[in-house]
């Protein structure tokens, strides 16, 4: 059996490891598109603040990790999948045959058609190559403009502040992290950042980029211009699936998969950020693009690549955790609530603490938190186990902080 896994991020690597656990003799080929060993994009911010070196971003630390498991690692992007011939073609011209194929190619930052977006000094923060450029340009005191204040951008924000640059953030929406937090939490986060000396401009887009003496001039919608040594754009991502055009694989925002993480073409699977798989909360196929989901996808897809339809995906819970200059926020599931649902809220503005639980009848279906670091994972447990809360519903409505007790009482039945 020849397995080919395209994409060397967490999904691709985890899938190869799972394939090897389940099939000791099959041939496993992992194909990446970048020169480095498989690494974690999530670790790049920690590289930027020099907490770790490049090796610290590698998904697996042992040099022999792949060879020990007889996983062949090739670094040459795939340009075409030929389902009829059961083969793939690489940029270098090589053609490889597969019996089972996994596509885990992730995503790429969007490049909106803004005039000047290609000039030197305007960069993404996505790859190790990008990180090297940012380290070079973002010296202490350098004016830097970060365009976008979503989830990934807030992590980059933290790293830039760690590099002591003079930072301005420009966000099109009315608040920070609009897809992860409500206006109360987003507003608190903005105040928190402003109190730390960061200039945050919301409700504002970028009209154009121009070269100037400092490097780049960021010309805003509101007529203002910001002169900077570096502009970092983070305006959303798109799935890496152009190479699948004409392959016959069903595509939407991502690659559509069934509960076995298999595409409409038998023997071809998808996992991770590129896969539009089942969302636990809604039951429909949605993009999530988070680490835990990637790994879940990978384990399930690999299992079904070895044993046909062995393991079904019940849906992954969307969730995120974010540290913005020391203020930690998290969101789980339907954090924005459901129609006809109820919520309980605890807000302490002075201490930047916020907790909001969303209920649908007797079930917890979503939550968001700000300033809480203890036991937050139990929110996943409470939502994911989908047990009726019974007496704990009223108790949580009165005091949302009693999450652990509610979990132990309702899910584990210890009281």
């Amino acid at each position: 059996m020849q397995y080919i896994v395209i994409g060397a991020g967490p999904a691709g690597v985890t899938a190869c490891e799972t394939l090897r656990e389940l099939d000791s003799t099959g041939r496993i080929t992992l194909i990446g598109g970048e020169p480095e060993p498989p690494y974690s994009r999530m670790a790049i911010p920690y590289l930027l603040v020099e907490n770790i070196d490049e090796q610290g971003t590698y998904l697996r630390k042992s040099e022999d990790h792949y060879s020990e498991r007889q996983i062949e690692y090739l670094s040459d992007p795939v340009t075409q999948v030929n389902p009829q011939q059961k083969s793939i073609t690489q940029a270098g011209g090589d053609r490889l045959d597969y019996d089972r194929l996994l596509i885990a190619t992730g995503a790429t930052p969007l490049k909106p058609p803004i005039p000047g977006i290609d000039i030197p000094g305007v960069h993404n923060c996505w790859t190790l190559a990008d990180a090297r450029v940012i380290v070079e340009r973002a010296k202490p005191g350098t004016p830097v403009v970060l365009i976008g204040a979503g989830f990934i951008e807030c992590i980059i924000l933290e790293a830039l502040v760690g590099r002591d640059v003079q930072l301005t953030v420009v966000e099109k929406a009315d608040r920070m992290v609009p897809l992860m937090m409500d206006d109360v939490a987003g507003g608190l986060l903005k105040t928190w950042c402003e109190n730390k000396g960061i200039n945050i401009i919301t409700n504002c887009g970028v009209a154009s980029f121009e070269k100037d003496n400092a490097g780049v001039s960021v010309n805003l919608d509101n007529g203002e211009s910001l002169s900077a040594g570096l502009a970092i754009t983070a305006m959303g991502v798109r799935s890496n699936m152009e190479f699948l055009a004409g392959s016959g694989i069903d595509l939407d925002q991502g690659i559509l998969v069934d509960p076995y993480l298999e595409t409409n073409l038998a023997g071809i699977f998808a996992a991770g950020d590129v896969a539009q798989g089942r969302d636990f909360s809604t039951g429909s196929n949605m993009m999530q693009a988070i680490q835990p989901t990637s790994v879940e996808h990978a384990r399930i897809a690999a299992t079904n690549m070895v044993f046909t339809k062995r393991m079904a995906h019940q849906g992954s819970l969307n969730m995120n955790v974010l540290d913005t200059l020391g203020l930690i926020s998290a969101s789980f599931g339907l954090w924005m609530g459901v129609e006809g649902g109820e919520h309980s809220t605890l807000l302490d503005e002075a201490r930047y603490r916020y907790l909001k639980l969303q209920f649908d009848g007797e079930y917890l279906v979503g939550a968001s938190s700000l300033g809480h670091t203890q036991h937050i994972g139990v929110l996943r447990g409470l939502i994911r186990s989908h047990v009726p809360l019974g007496v704990w519903k009223v108790r949580l409505m009165n005091d949302p902080t009693r999450l652990m007790e509610a979990y132990l009482g309702s899910v584990q039945g210890v009281n």
Binding site: M42, Y58, Q314, S316, Q374, G377, G381, L403, L408
Partner: protein, 159 residues
């Protein structure tokens, strides 16, 4: 033979000796808020329930770590955070459905129970044997696995 923590909440008096012992053993201070085992109070029922990581087989934290900072200690079965590798991204703190991996803003790393390398301070400190360290077979390991299973994102297909 693998051993694990057996918690018998019926015997717990809520004295929090376990929390003090854990925080002193691991953080060098007597501060329950830094303990990896916590005693939860059920006011309505008048009960105390000590709870910490069960070193579950699913190892959600270990699976979710993007930099391979959590590893299995084969001698104890514990999933152990390696501080030199942990970047402090906190993904494990939301991935663990038991809420037993926590972030420490002091160290910038996550902390979780590591069974004190095979000699857990909480069990030694417990005056009522509510927490004991015994052969894994006796701890209702299967029960714990069942709890873990309830939060699994996948399931064996019925076919």
């Amino acid at each position: 033979m693998l051993r694990s923590l057996l918690i018998d909440a019926d015997k717990c008096t809520g004295c929090v000796q376990c929390e003090l012992a854990c925080s002193f053993e691991n953080e060098g201070v007597f501060n329950p808020s830094k303990s990896r085992i916590r005693v939860f109070t059920f006011h309505h029922e008048g009960r105390f329930v000590p709870y910490t990581c069960t070193q579950c087989a699913e190892a959600w934290c270990m699976q979710a770590c993007p930099v391979d900072a959590i590893a299995l200690d084969v001698n104890t079965g514990a999933k152990v955070v390696h501080d030199s590798v942990c970047v402090g991204c906190k993904v494990c703190t939301i991935a663990c459905p038991f809420g037993t991996v926590n972030y420490s803003s002091v160290s910038g790393k996550v902390i979780k129970c590591d069974l004190c390398g095979g000699d857990p301070a909480c069990a030694k400190a417990c005056p009522t044997a509510a927490i004991t360290y015994v052969d894994a077979d006796q701890t209702g390991f299967e029960k714990m696995r069942a709890w873990a299973g309830k939060t699994d994102a996948s399931s064996a297909a019925s076919v």
